[in-house]
């Protein structure tokens, strides 16, 4: 039984009431499940024929799912690889003492954060088609990666900035006191310490990147995991629901592993004695990042 400050330990009447709520809720869920089940059965989506290809033969995995997943991972990997240093550069740029560096970095970061990734991808795709002579399959990958990089570099820049700002001022003061230059302070004192604080947010940003690769498949015909649904369902007899279930499970497994890793990391860093305990909160969607101060230590935290 979890204890919460929001409600009392339950007496006999509250327990009965909870049982009643549970029963009503179960009934509602069962009704919803029944509706889903019967409408699926009515459209023959539950027939074993439609699910069987995924379990009995390696063919759908080899022909559609694995190549799609590879493209998804490839795009996400390249996007992260390019966006991370670029983001660090702009994040540090925004903290510069020089106006001519701070201003443009700020404008670039705010600009690309305000624009949907899809718009960036469409523009990149058209630009590559017009100004370069890349082969189509390369062009689509380039376009998806470019869109992801532009957006995520600006989000990562904010994470880097928040990470550096989360360090106590005394760190900079001490570095100054022993005669370090600004560059040295950043390189030897601030960056190494803030990397730990940034890690959880960076890992959860990877989830955002993986999820956004699907845009390339749905709008630009980049052959990634989601794009494999149409040919797969055409080939195996309109088993749309089965195909979606399988790829949704793959996305979930992949991203769930990443989110769990991020929150494990966050908890570990918070408890760690070496860091300041400040952690840049996970950015769930659209760059929602919060610098959290070390939690106040109270006996037996009973927050919900």
């Amino acid at each position: 039984m979890t204890t919460s400050v929001l409600f009392d330990a339950q007496g006999p009447r509250a327990k009965q009431r909870n049982i009643l709520y549970t029963v009503v809720f179960v009934a509602a869920l069962a009704a919803a499940a029944w509706w889903v089940f019967s409408s699926l059965a009515e459209k023959h989506q539950l027939d074993w024929v439609k699910w069987e290809p995924f379990f009995t033969s390696p063919q759908p995995w080899e022909t559609y799912i694995w190549p799609g997943l590879q493209n998804t991972l490839k795009a996400a990997f390249f996007a992260l690889l390019i966006a991370l240093p670029l983001g660090a550069l702009f994040g540090i740029g925004r903290l510069s003492d020089h106006r001519w560096m701070r201003m443009p970095s700020g404008v670039v970061v705010e600009f690309f954060r305000a624009i949907p990734v899809l718009i960036l991808m469409i523009t990149a795709n058209a630009a590559y088609a017009e100004f370069t002579n890349l082969a189509t399959e390369d062009r689509l990958l380039y376009a998806v990666v470019t869109g992801l990089v532009l957006y995520n570099a600006s989000v990562l820049a904010e994470i880097v900035r928040a990470g550096i700002l989360s360090l106590p001022r005394g760190q900079t003061d001490a570095a100054k006191a022993i005669g370090m230059r600004k560059g040295q302070t950043m390189r030897y004192v601030l960056l190494p310490q803030s990397v730990t604080a940034m890690l959880p947010a960076i890992v959860s940003q990877i989830v955002v990147i993986v999820k956004d690769t699907a845009l390339g498949g749905a709008v630009l015909t980049f052959p990634e995991l989601l794009a494999s649904v149409r040919p797969m369902s055409a080939n195996y007899g309109a088993n749309t629901i089965a195909c979606f279930t399988i790829i949704a499970l793959i996305y979930m497994a992949l991203n769930f592993a990443l989110t769990s890793f991020a929150s494990w990391l966050e908890g570990r860093l918070r408890r760690g004695k070496k860091s300041t305990g400040a952690v840049v909160g996970a950015a769930p969607d659209g760059g929602l990042e919060i610098v959290e101060a070390p939690p106040v230590k109270t006996g037996g935290t009973d927050k919900v």
Binding site: L6, N18, F25, S39, I119, A218, V229, A238, F244, G286
Partner: protein, 222 residues
């Protein structure tokens, strides 16, 4: 210079973007609040349901959910969400449904972090007065939590505004869809992109500024 805009309903497309945003924002606010209530409530099954919902929805790409709404719900199961309507109207409704279901998970998490900012003493005092869980939540905790999360909710709303472009994947004629159309037909790549970028900045920047101001205004001083 901007004569390539002639013959395109630019304002109409952005109006669809705004409508998608407003409807799904309302839907996600209601559903997200209910989910947050379930996640902090005393009924274990509802807590489990809330947690499972948030974790599942957050880890599936929005694009998958929206495309599923069209290919799975509409074309396979013939779910139309209300009678009548042509293809475009149905897809608009489905896009709103998908966006609201997806965004609700983020609204729920934002609210839950807001509930955590309310000092435990407040809830304890409310319980000491004999208020029930729903009363504690409705009268004491949520009003303060909402005031604390205006900023995170503004970020969710801005993300939602940008996410409405995904509806282009199922043929809802909003800004991104029109942009793709225009780029294919006109040889004005840079200008077209600039116009649409400007349009989205006009939508997201004021939202952020306005709600940032509101969040300062309503913040509970502690």
């Amino acid at each position: 210079m901007f004569d390539f805009l002639e013959g395109y309903d630019l304002l109409g497309a952005f109006w669809v973007t705004v409508k998608l945003t407003v409807y799904s924002a309302l839907g996600s606010l209601i559903w997200g609040t209910l989910l947050a209530g379930m996640r902090v409530g005393p009924v274990p099954l509802m807590r489990g349901f809330g947690t499972a919902y948030v974790n599942i929805i957050r880890n599936i790409p929005l694009t998958v959910i929206i495309v599923f709404a069209s290919l799975g719900l509409f074309q396979t199961l013939q779910v139309k969400l209300g009678g009548g309507g042509d293809f475009e109207v149905i897809n608009f409704r489905l896009a709103v449904l998908a966006l609201a279901l997806y965004t609700a998970a983020f609204v729920c998490e934002a609210l839950r972090s807001g509930i955590n900012t309310v000092p435990a003493g407040q809830a304890e005092a409310a319980r000491a007065l004999g208020l029930s869980f729903t009363q504690v939540l409705r009268l004491v905790i949520l009003p303060q939590a909402f005031r604390a999360v205006v900023n995170p909710l503004a970020n969710v709303l801005i993300a939602l505004t940008k996410n409405t472009t995904v509806a282009a994947a199922i043929g809802v004629v909003e800004a991104a869809y029109l942009m793709k159309d225009m780029i294919e037909a006109e040889a004005q790549l840079i200008l077209i992109s600039a116009v649409f970028a400007f349009g989205f900045i006009c939508l997201t920047l004021p939202t952020g500024l306005l709600l940032g101001w509101v969040s300062k205004k309503v913040a509970v001083k502690r």
